[in-house]
């Protein structure tokens, strides 16, 4: 085939991909309606989504736990003077209220952080629910896996301790010094990257589900 023919075919493939992308939201919505109509999968999505939300808030420091009970004697609730949209870093907002339901847990409440976490949690929960539905109803022998949820990983790297990303503190200073010039400038894209990856995984999961089941 000539170069022109190859180019034409490649551009046509891009055009097909555009059409598929335009159709994807409607397909995803339709499949999710079908899947979440079942109580079992709805419960699974809520359970997984809740766990992801807890992990997200723990990773960014909004949920903190202490084995030693370091908040002993601390007032149950404290208010901040921050505004709703005051940020500490890109996609990380200041908490407005902290609750200490006991000496072993602190809950820093930022409505914006909860909203951002809920979006990630919703995407992961939806992915798992559709994958589980497909595994149950697939007519083909090959069953879809759940590994796509690792697309959520960048969102768990948003936490900050003062001026240092917490995941770099966890790595240790020696390795961190090598990674910081690369990772810190990229940090602002972690959250949108997570949404793009999880969205792409969801579309892919829905497509496979539609191909392997009678889901519409």
């Amino acid at each position: 085939m000539s170069s022109a023919g190859l180019l034409t075919r490649a551009l046509g493939r891009v055009g097909d991909a555009v059409d598929a992308s335009v159709r994807a939201p409607a397909q995803v919505a339709g499949t999710l309606r079908t899947v979440l109509a079942h109580r079992a999968y709805r419960g699974l999505a809520l359970l997984v989504g809740s766990a992801v939300l807890v992990l997200y808030l723990t990773a960014n420091g909004d949920l903190a736990f202490s084995v030693s009970g370091r908040w002993s004697g601390t007032p149950f609730a404290q208010l901040a003077e921050s505004g709703l949209f005051d940020t500490r870093a890109p996609y990380l907002f200041e908490p407005l209220l902290v609750l200490h339901p006991g000496a072993h847990i602190a809950v820093f409440l930022s409505p914006m952080n909860i909203l951002l976490g809920a979006v990630v949690a919703g995407l992961v929960g939806s992915n798992i629910a559709v994958a589980a539905y497909t595994a149950k109803h697939a007519v083909a022998c090959r069953r879809p896996g759940y590994s796509g949820i690792f697309a959520a990983a960048p969102a768990f790297l948003l936490g900050f301790a003062c001026c240092v990303p917490t995941f770099l503190l966890a790595i240790g200073s020696g390795v961190a010094a090598t990674l910081t010039p690369i990772l810190v400038p990229l940090r602002p894209i972690f959250y949108p990257l997570t949404l793009v990856l999880l969205g792409a995984v969801l579309v892919w999961t829905v497509r496979r589900s539609r191909a392997m089941t009678s889901a519409t």
């Binding site: 493939r13 891009v14 003077e81 500490r88 001026c163 240092v164 200073s173």
Partner: protein, 337 residues
């Protein structure tokens, strides 16, 4: 055409694909151009070579993002204090930074400052910005410049040689905390007036200054003041004792361990570093820095070292600092072993 030949794409699909790729190229190219313009000149490979002090422009080119946005590490602009007996969140071995200014003693707990780095405080009519950088182990106060004594500061979210880079709220000029000299902005080249603080423990400070006022955790922001994210001075763990740094630092030197605490002293155009442990062992260390005679003395009551001018007894221009940090800004510093 055979039975297995792929379908030839229609004209509409080809045009659609060309439009999408063209649009992505424009967006991608525009984004790259905008990023390039926003980033400015690429950072220098290092702020200086060993033995050569950096120019202000070299330092400005060595600024890196620590990640937070401007004032993402919120300075305390309305500090609230309490008496010694009203403080219940500190343990005896917690670090506090002590200051006696205008006859009044105040303590700024490290567990609070590790989350805020700057306290824009006032003593009567005098403005004193108390600053602390956890990554370089440096604490120093500033009373503005000779022309602008009422300056207040914020955090840029950026670092230079791992050190806090402040900005002043009057002119938005940038000031590395260790240097105290503006490296960019309207006030570039001007020098802040430093006020040394003492690095001591809660137990020692309250015994020595029972009438002291103490910065509380009522800062206006919500933070986990019971936890130090970098490690522990009390238990000597984490970043404060590890040899490595989290952000790149240049130049470096192995005369002392990177995190070994030195008394960094400035006099004229010269600098001197004396290991804190040396002062503890010797009790008194006399030196001359840039023609200024100074005396470093161990204060057994506060378990700390102070440096004063030999003639007047007034505080010299000094600060506790991790060795790597002091050397990165003053690679031609003299050392006392």
């Amino acid at each position: 055409m055979t039975e297995n030949s792929p379908r030839e794409p229609g004209r509409r699909q080809v045009l659609k694909g060309a439009a999408v790729l063209g649009g992505l190229a424009v967006v991608g190219g525009g984004g790259a151009l905008a990023w390039q313009l926003r980033s400015g000149d690429p950072p220098a490979d290092g702020a200086a070579t060993a033995g050569e002090r950096s120019t202000l422009d070299e330092l400005a080119n060595a600024v890196v993002s620590g990640g937070p946005g401007k004032d993402g590490i919120p300075p305390i602009d309305d500090p609230r204090f309490a008496g010694i007996d009203d403080i219940d969140f500190l343990q005896d071995d917690d670090i506090v930074f002590g200051l006696v200014f205008g006859g009044e003693a105040r303590a700024y707990p490290q567990p609070v400052l590790v989350w805020h780095e700057i306290v824009n405080d006032t003593f009567g009519d005098d403005h004193v910005a108390v600053t602390y950088c956890p990554l370089t182990g440096t604490t120093v106060g500033f009373t503005g410049t000779d022309e602008r004594p009422d300056m207040t500061f914020g955090t840029t979210g950026n670092l230079i040689n791992s050190n806090l880079l402040m900005y002043d709220r009057d002119t938005d000029s940038d000031w590395p905390q260790v240097l105290g000299t503006a490296i960019s902005g309207t006030l570039k080249g001007q020098q802040l007036r430093p006020v040394p603080l003492v690095w001591t423990t809660w137990r020692a400070w309250r015994a020595e200054h029972p009438d002291s006022r103490v910065l509380t955790t009522d800062t206006g922001a919500l933070r986990d003041y019971h936890r130090d994210p970098y490690g522990s001075y009390r238990e000597q763990s984490g970043y404060y004792v590890d040899e490595g740094t989290i952000f790149p630092v240049e130049p470096t030197d192995d005369t002392f361990g990177s995190k070994e605490v030195v008394l960094g002293i400035r006099g004229g155009d010269s600098q001197l570093a004396i290991p804190r442990e040396l002062v503890r062992e010797e009790g008194t260390v006399d030196a001359e820095v840039g023609g200024v005679s100074v005396r470093a003395e161990w204060d057994g009551e506060l378990d700390t070292a102070r440096v004063s001018r030999a003639g007047s007894g007034e505080p010299a221009d000094f600060m506790d600092a991790m060795w790597f940090s002091w050397y990165s800004f003053y690679p031609n510093t003299e050392v006392r072993r």
